[in-house]
């Protein structure tokens, strides 16, 4: 049977993508809303940013694409940037939230 990547592996790869200002990865920041691995080996990522017009817009999206693309068998990465629902600090993982406050 052909190997199909798991969602967990995708999330694990995305933990390499850091927001340099906050020093936290996009997964723990709660920026990744969804990650789907399709049977044609394409990966669909639904994500947001902490604020529209974020100066890290291009960098983070390209970083997400690069990180997922580096996984075995991935043929295509689709990043869907959404603003609904809006990101809020509550979306961060609890341990990261505690670190900030």
């Amino acid at each position: 049977m052909e190997y199909l990547l798991t969602k967990e592996e995708v999330y694990k790869a995305l933990e390499k993508v850091l927001d340099p200002e906050l020093g936290v990865d996009v997964v723990n920041l709660g920026l990744i809303y969804d990650a789907l691995v399709n049977e044609d080996h394409s990966v669909y990522i639904k994500m947001t940013l902490t604020t529209p017009g974020c100066p890290l817009h291009d960098t983070l999206i390209n970083g997400v694409k690069t990180a997922v693309q580096s996984l075995p068998t991935v043929k295509k990465v689709e990043v869907d940037l959404v603003w609904e629902p809006e990101w809020t600090p509550e979306k961060m993982s609890p341990k990261i939230r505690d670190m900030f406050m």
């Binding site: 340099p20 020093g23 017009g53 390209n62 970083g63 694409k65 690069t66 689709e78 809020t88 406050m101």
Partner: protein
């Protein structure tokens, strides 16, 4: 590696879009360095009537044109496309603007130092042309977006005053050379200073902070309806005061204008408080913390100035008083705000340039690794301290204190800046 593009709405960040803002910034850094050297070795610039000497006027223009305006323009090229998520209308026009503005500014400085009227007029024309190209370029960029907000309103407002500043500067050079309307000369000079100092810088800084402060504080959900009122209040104040320069209605009108200005500042500080109430990060960056202190300090200075003017209206004609207020405003608020923001902007831009492509592939440093926040804080406080002492020295006319503060300011700026430039050692 060829990365396929999905339904990505982002525009690729090309290196060309990095070079343009950075050209302005590097030139600004160079100007600031030269300005600091002038402060250190130039002799007394702020005592007595020295500010009106060619060296004094030249030094102030070096700071305003070479450092603050250069940097502000670079920041506009960097941030406006980001805010509206559109590419700059034309990088080529940006490059033309850079060369015209730089040439014009250098020409103006030579014109001031040599007191050569023809050079001043010619350089003013080049500078005005550069500014018009800049404004057209950004207008064309902004016109791509339908989501016009208070940040863009502030940017457009600042451009109106920038244009008025350079046009009034050109008029002054022409009027001085050909004595067309000598009676209007001081009104044009006052308007030139007021439009440039307050209109151009204030709207830009305030508008930028509407975007940047919530980001640095990681604030969410703060009300934004106050933003437009802050900008409207500043407009009212600027119009009223500059109108009075020409119409000479009464001193009372100027005081009312200043009170409206104070109201605008108060609303602005309250809006910062609203952002702070919704913050999720304890520390927005020490440089940013100092810029907020600078707003508080500036409000205190405005209150004290208004009280002093009401008690003694003759102060409005006093060169010492006006110089002290101008120096405190220009270095203390505009200068410190820009220096503070640089502690965030420089590492960010350099990080994007060096490490942006490596994100997701390998370990990259965070911005905190690239700059020591405590050094930013203490070195910037030294700068602030020198400015306060300089202001006191000028008001009280203590020549020695003024000179020591001036030299200290030059040294502290260099000391602060060395730390900012250390960011470039990361690669």
């Amino acid at each position: 590696m060829n990365i396929p593009t999905g339904s990505l709405i982002a525009k690729d960040q090309t290196r060309a879009s990095f070079y343009l803002p950075f050209s302005f910034m590097i030139t600004a850094f160079l100007s600031l360095f030269i300005f600091s050297i002038v402060l250190i070795v130039g002799g007394s610039l702020f005592s007595g009537v020295n500010i009106r000497t060619t060296l004094g006027i030249g030094a102030m223009h070096l700071f305003i044109l070479g450092f603050t305006t250069m940097l502000a323009m670079g920041a506009v090229y960097q941030l406006v496309p980001v805010v509206i998520n559109e590419k700059l209308y034309s990088i080529r026009l940006g490059i033309i603007h850079y060369f015209l503005f730089t040439t014009g500014s250098i020409g103006l400085l030579i014109g001031f130092f040599q007191y050569n009227k023809s050079v001043l007029i010619g350089s003013s024309l080049i500078t005005v042309t550069g500014v018009i190209i800049f404004i057209v370029n950004i207008f064309m960029t902004i016109s791509k977006t339908k989501a016009f907000n208070s940040i863009l309103f502030a940017t457009v407002s600042s451009f109106v005053y920038l244009l008025l500043t350079v046009i009034s500067g050109l008029l002054m050079a022409i009027n001085f050379s050909f004595q067309i309307i000598p009676s209007l000369h001081s009104a044009i000079l006052a308007a030139h200073i007021w439009f440039g100092f307050v209109g151009w810088f204030l709207f830009l800084i305030v508008g930028y902070s509407f975007k940047m402060l919530p980001m640095f504080y990681l604030a969410h959900g703060q009300p934004i309806n106050l933003q437009k009122w802050i900008l409207i209040t500043f407009h009212l104040s600027l119009i009223l005061i500059s109108m009075n320069f020409f119409l000479q209605l009464s001193f009372f009108v100027t005081i009312v204008g200043l009170l409206i200005f104070l109201l605008g500042l108060g609303l602005y500080r309250y809006h910062i408080y609203q952002i702070q109430q919704k913050k999720f990060k304890r520390n927005p960056g020490k440089g940013i913390t100092v810029t907020v202190y600078a707003v508080d300090g500036f409000i205190v200075v405005v209150i004290l100035s208004i009280i002093a003017l009401v008690l003694d209206p003759k102060l409005f004609q006093s060169l010492h008083f006006l110089t002290a207020v101008s120096v405190v405003y220009l270095f203390g608020w505009i200068g410190v705000t820009i220096l503070g923001y640089l502690s965030k902007i420089v590492p960010f831009l350099w990080w994007t340039f060096c490490f942006g492509d490596r994100v997701g592939k390998e370990e990259v440093p965070s911005l905190h690794n690239m700059i020591d926040e405590n050094k930013v804080f203490y070195r910037l406080l030294f700068v602030c301290l020198a400015i306060v002492v300089l202001g006191i020295g000028i008001v009280l006319q203590f020549a020695l204190l003024t000179l020591v503060a001036q030299i200290s300011l030059g040294i502290f700026i260099v000391y602060y800046f060395i730390h900012i430039l250390a960011v470039f050692t990361f690669s």
